[in-house]
């Protein structure tokens, strides 16, 4: 922790120094901050949509992966393997293109509104595949004996799921889930390629404006470094929050194997 803080301070000092030497235009950096924070808010909004959606899918398919039904298992496994093997950018861009193509000229549905939405869903589906694996690992980590014991005292399947399996699963999966959330934050940057408003998209626009107006090309780096710093703050915050939650709910002996 001390080292991290030290590193952060060092980084800020380095940047400020560069600014003093005219290599990093601190002035410009501050001027674009309002625009960037708009992007940041948009990114947060996207994250708030994608993560829960991904979790729903993840839970469904994670459970499906451990199902006794062979067809359900095959379907869930295929889903997970497919979405884990495809680059998210491919999923995002092609769902966008396909939606546009399919709905071109359609009076009922506005393609330009729907296509970005479909891309976002695609991103959620992608995250869902990873969350499915986390959920599956969580389910498997709860020994069969726990379920048997619960059955033996007369709990229904739903009660068992809710009172026995889920609480144990939750604690074990927490670190991996937190990791996944940080990943989603970073993945939202890809939505910029289909012109969805978020942090990277603002960056792309700023850069193209700079180039068109023939401004100082060094400012391009200011833009990207600042954007990277903002993402870093986000992912860092997520991991800190996660740490606190983990500690609060910690049950001795119920830790995930060091992944």
């Amino acid at each position: 922790m001390g080292i991290a803080a030290g590193a952060a301070v060092a980084a800020i000092l380095v940047v400020l120094d560069l600014g003093l030497y005219g290599l990093f235009d601190v002035d410009y950096a501050l001027r674009i901050l309002p625009a960037l924070s708009r992007g940041l808010t948009a990114t947060l909004g996207l994250v708030v949509i994608v993560i829960p959606l991904g979790f729903l899918l993840g839970f469904a398919f994670g459970w499906g992966r451990t199902s006794h039904n062979g067809v359900l298992r095959w379907f869930s496994t295929s889903y997970v393997e497919f979405f884990r093997s495809m680059p998210p950018i491919v999923l995002i861009v092609f769902t966008y293109l396909i939606t546009l193509a399919l709905l071109a000229g359609n009076e009922r549905f506005d393609a330009t509104e729907l296509a970005p939405a479909v891309s976002i869903v695609a991103l959620a589906a992608h995250s869902g595949a990873y969350q499915a694996e986390i959920v599956r690992a969580g389910i498997l980590s709860v020994p069969e004996s726990q379920r048997e014991a619960a059955e033996a005292i007369g709990m229904t399947r739903e009660q068992i799921m809710y009172n026995v399996t889920l609480p144990q699963m939750f604690r074990v999966s927490l670190p991996a889930l937190g990791n996944e959330f940080a990943s989603v934050i970073k993945d939202t940057s890809l939505l910029a390629t289909v012109s969805i408003l978020e942090l990277t998209f603002i960056g792309v626009n700023l850069v193209s404006t700079l180039i068109q107006r023939g401004g100082n090309p060094d400012l391009v780096f200011v833009v990207w470094i600042e954007i990277a710093a903002l993402y870093f703050v986000l992912t860092f915050a997520v991991s800190r929050i996660l740490h606190t939650v983990e500690r609060r709910y910690r049950v001795p002996g119920l830790e995930a194997p060091q992944l």
């Binding site: 080292i3 991290a4 030290g6 590193a7 060092a10 980084a11 062979g70 298992r73 095959w74 496994t77 295929s78 393997e81 497919f82 884990r84 093997s85 495809m86 680059p87 998210p88 950018i89 491919v90 861009v93 092609f94 293109l97 396909i98 546009l100 193509a101 990873y130 694996e133 986390i134 690992a137 991996a176 990791n179 996944e180 940080a182 990943s183 989603v184 934050i185 970073k186 993945d187 940057s189 890809l190 910029a192 390629t193 990277t200 960056g203 792309v204 850069v207 090309p217 391009v220 780096f221 990207w224 470094i225 954007i227 990277a228 993402y231 870093f232 992912t235 194997p257 060091q258 992944l259």
Partner: protein, 303 residues
């Protein structure tokens, strides 16, 4: 799934099996059949054009090779640089704590390395690529294929951050007892690292490292945005310029799946085969690209 049973032992006795091999290739076959049927149906419906796919798939081959090449070069160069960084990350704190004279050099090195790794893992690969491509294309304007090399540079910078963590975890997962034993027979620290830590780590990091390659390969798709003619670019060309997005998607998906799935299965299989009894590794979660990264750090259960 197809369950293949070995010869049952004497007697029928229902459920008794001697050898049951679950073939997940059965799973794969079922999926392939499903996709082919889907394609044919869609073709009949006029939604996709199989002739288009048949005509255009060779177009993707060279770009796919570019993607593979870029990924592998970045990966290998990154590997060479990440190992010493992993060393610093794994043993740095110890050196400092022991107040060894080398601490003067090691402490700042550790700080820098940690800063680098955290920065890479905490920021989107996409932004890294945009930043580094802008810088590199400006710095090396005359170079032929400068966009490609800039992209490879960005991928390298990215993979170093993740591989360093894989190595760190690998080195640290070798139990203290192993090191104590090595010391007690008179081995020097360098010897301990080369003959005990390294061999044990290598077996442990094989899976996360492969996952890292796969993640890097998926990230190479982002190079499309910075004017590199790789697989995603080719697919986008077919989908957008040639206006056949659905067919293009199928083709691109085929390429990615055909490369990635056998690779990850192959490694799991190899890992199981070559496993030294007693050097197990629990299923690590996946490291990801275009963003994500868990510290792929499986722990070795000690003896």
């Amino acid at each position: 799934m197809i369950l293949i049973r070995g010869a049952p032992s004497a007697g029928r006795a229902g459920r008794r099996r001697d050898a049951t091999i679950v073939r997940s290739t059965g799973n794969l076959t079922a999926t392939l059949v499903f996709i082919i049927v889907l394609l044919v149906v869609l073709d009949r419906l006029g939604a996709v054009s199989i002739p288009f796919m048949v005509q255009w798939w060779p177009f993707l081959v060279t770009p796919a090779a570019t993607a593979l090449g870029a990924t592998t070069i970045a990966f290998v160069v990154g590997f060479v640089i990440a190992v010493p960084l992993g060393l610093v990350r794994a043993y740095g704190p110890d050196v400092v704590r022991r107040k060894a004279p080398a601490s003067v050099v090691v402490a700042p090195l550790y700080g820098l390395t940690t800063g680098y790794v955290e920065a890479i893992r905490g920021t989107p690969a996409f932004v890294q690529i945009l930043l580094i491509s802008a810088a590199a294309t400006r710095a090396f304007t005359g170079l032929p294929n400068v966009e490609l090399w800039a992209g490879v540079l960005a991928l390298t910078v990215n993979t170093i951050g993740y591989q360093a963590e894989v190595f760190r975890a690998g080195f640290q997962s070798v139990g203290q007892g192993q090191v104590d034993a090595a010391k007690s027979i008179g081995m020097r620290p360098t010897q301990i690292f080369v003959y005990i830590t390294l061999p044990q780590s290598l077996r442990i990091i094989l899976l996360p490292l492969t996952n890292e390659w796969i993640g890097l390969f998926k990230a190479s798709a982002l190079l499309w945005y910075v004017a590199v003619r790789e697989l995603m670019w080719a697919g986008n060309y077919l989908g957008y310029t040639q206006v056949h997005p659905i067919e293009a998607f199928f083709l691109v998906a085929f390429f990615y799946l055909l490369i990635i799935i056998p690779l990850s299965r192959g490694v799991s299989y190899l890992e199981r085969k070559k496993r030294i009894p007693g050097l197990g590794v629990p299923e690590p979660t996946r490291p990801r690209r275009a963003g994500p990264r868990p510290a792929a750090s499986p722990a070795a259960p000690g003896p």
